[in-house]
């Protein structure tokens, strides 16, 4: 770097220091922009990583059947948010589908996941946010999970009013750490807590996201409670052997297609495809939110331009003096661009520091596990530098083009 540029950077830093408040307010836009972009990207990236961990958690051979057609583009899975949440299913999956899957070749077991709306009461406590999921005795095997406290209902127990609860429900509904044998009311019936799952690793935006906050009741009981209207948002299946996973998937697909009258209004996904669908949705959401956040970076850039224009006007006399003692227009241009760049890079650095602090806070106090990658920091630094240069150019050109005599007359 030339001595002139080094001098310009030093001068720019001195200028930032000498007008602390003004510089701080100018940088605020950039700081907010950088913090929001870095945090959003970090949260998205963190969630994606956790979804990836799910493969290990539930086993590589888990097959997920969901309502809604999977969109594929040249073999690549394309985003389908409806698919992720099972929102498009007016009919959802049915008892029939479950039977079809159970009968498919190489399928060892299949467990439905159906949502039963309603609130849960235990004594004077009432929970509205708890998910009550209707399923069958195969669920623990499908999820690769044991029930460490008590046990899951077996096939015979599928007619009883029993429930297995997630870890968070225990704390929210009962004061007991392990509330086995305790009862709660749901849709006018009394259920006995028979078992409790250990912590499910929290993975937002994945089907297992709220298992910690879920109450599992037998599917048959749920049908009785709702008059056969339980909506299955997903059916989980496991093949008999790991190497038969593909064959099982193909078989399920074939049989389902047949039973649906060749209408492909469902999707059969292995864990990888499942993850890809989630990842794509996450990428889309992350990109969209980051784009909105990037607008604040743009606003920050406009703020820098505004303050630089004011600075050029204020320092017109100084520009005249500098030109009189031999500064060329290019040198004046560089000086002001450098000032804008320093202002926005300092803002960027502060933003990155705050983002790191924010990520740390989120990791400490929430279940989110955002990550900050070196790439995110590099992009944020580059973006703030670019914003400084882009938005600093117009004021700098204004300064550089000023006639020295006119500038000197300016007081």
């Amino acid at each position: 770097m030339s001595a002139i540029n080094r001098g310009n950077i030093r001068m720019a830093l001195a200028s930032v220091r000498s007008t602390k408040w003004r510089s701080m307010l100018t940088m605020l836009g950039i700081i907010i922009g950088i913090v929001s972009v870095v945090m959003v990207v970090g949260i998205g990236e963190g969630v994606k990583r956790e979804v990836a961990h799910q493969i290990d958690q539930f086993g590589k051979d888990l097959i997920t059947v969901r309502p809604g057609k999977l969109q594929k583009d040249n073999g690549r899975i394309v985003t389908n948010t409806d698919l992720l949440f099972g929102l498009n299913s007016i009919s959802g999956l049915t008892e029939n589908d479950l039977k079809t899957i159970q009968k498919s070749d190489h399928v060892r077991l299949a467990a439905p996941l159906g949502l039963v709306p309603g609130s849960v009461k235990a004594g004077d406590r009432k929970l509205d946010q708890t998910m009550v999921i209707a399923t069958n005795s195969s669920l623990p095997a499908a999820l690769n999970r044991d029930v460490p406290y008590g046990d899951f209902f077996d096939e015979e127990g599928e007619d009883d009013n029993v429930a297995v609860i997630g870890r968070s429900v225990a704390g929210a509904l009962f004061d007991d750490f392990v509330p086995l044998g305790q009862t709660f009311e749901f849709r006018g019936k009394t259920f006995i807590v028979r078992g409790m799952f250990d912590d499910f690793k929290s993975t937002p935006l994945s089907p297992a996201s709220n298992f910690n906050n879920a109450i599992f009741i037998p599917h048959k009981v749920a049908e009785e409670l709702t008059g056969n209207s339980v909506q299955m948002y997903s059916i989980l299946a496991k093949p008999d052997k790991l190497e038969n996973a593909k064959a099982a998937q193909a078989s399920i697909e074939k049989r389902m297609l047949k039973s649906h009258g060749n209408e492909e209004d469902f999707s059969v996904l292995d864990q990888k495809q499942n993850l890809a669908a989630s990842s794509n949705v996450l990428s889309l959401i992350t990109t969209m939110v980051a784009a909105v956040a990037a607008i604040s970076l743009l606003v920050g850039g406009v703020g820098i331009m505004n303050i630089m224009l004011a600075s050029v006007t204020e320092r017109m006399h100084e520009i005249g003096v500098r030109k009189a003692i031999g500064a060329t227009s290019r040198q004046i241009l560089n000086q002001f661009i450098m000032e804008a760049a320093v202002l926005s890079v300092v803002g960027g650095v502060v933003g990155i520091a705050l983002s790191i602090a924010g990520v740390f806070a989120l990791r400490t106090y929430t279940s989110l596990k955002p990550v900050i990658s070196v790439e995110a920091i590099a992009v944020a630094t580059f973006a703030s530098l670019a914003i400084g240069i882009i938005f600093g150019t117009i004021p700098a050109i204004k300064a550089a083009r000023k006639d020295p005599i006119e500038a000197l007359r300016h007081e």
Binding site: A3, K323, A324, I325, G326, Q331, P404, I405
Partner: protein, 292 residues
Amino acid sequence: MPLIELKDVSKLYGFGDATTLALDEVSLTIDENEFVAVMGPSGCGKSTLMNLIGLLDRPTNGDYQLRSRYVSKLRSGQRAKIRRDTVGFVFQSFNLLPRMTVLENVALPLVYKGISPSKRIKQASNMLERVGLRDREFYYPRHLSGGQAQCAAIARALINNPSIIIADEPTGNLDSASSRLVMELLSDIHKMGNTILFVTHNPELTRYATRVVYMHDGAVVHDEQTAIGDVAPTARRIMFTVPSKNDEDDLAGVSTLMKNVEGDYKEEPAAKKPARKKATGKPKARKRGGKK
């Protein structure tokens, strides 16, 4: 070879009806090592002339040669480099940058030359030593007296070893003691071989000059050589026509200016006439080549 050669140089400001003729076909030749005082009433074009010579401004018409090089049509970058290397400016209001120390101010022209910081500091420090401000290096301009600030400005003008120093009313904001200090400094610089052009309203200061140029309404009306130490003859005449106020005027509450307008109205033009006549032909006819 003359250092500065202006030929029929005019400068117009504004458009249409609002056009002002700041310089009217001025021809002027200045040789190396001259100490030129430029005098004349306010608005006569002295500063415009200095700005043109210092390449801060471009003439509307006419030719300007600096060391036999036509410089008025050069691109702004080239003009800036000539300003940096050949011309040093000293302004009436000092024009030191308030956010920089005296040392940084003096070193500033070296920044634009790409000199390394350590060399800049060393050179600037030596220059401040020369003008007697070494002990004020790390002061800010606001902490200096007027005379000291102007000496710092002179140090800044000298830092690139320019051959021409242009001082536009360098003593205009100073008391008489400081004025003397600044003029002595300029005189020392002149003795070292620099060419100095300075604008002044004070006839006394022509004692330092080797030549005095008088301007009026954008034209050079009189140009005379003068011995160092003496007030130039024409300037001396002006000295005695400068209106003065006495206790009587104060008591009467009458403005001195008004008194002069009433009393000397008819005499004034008559007194100035010969000078103007002398001037109309003189600048063009005058050949000063070879004079040292």
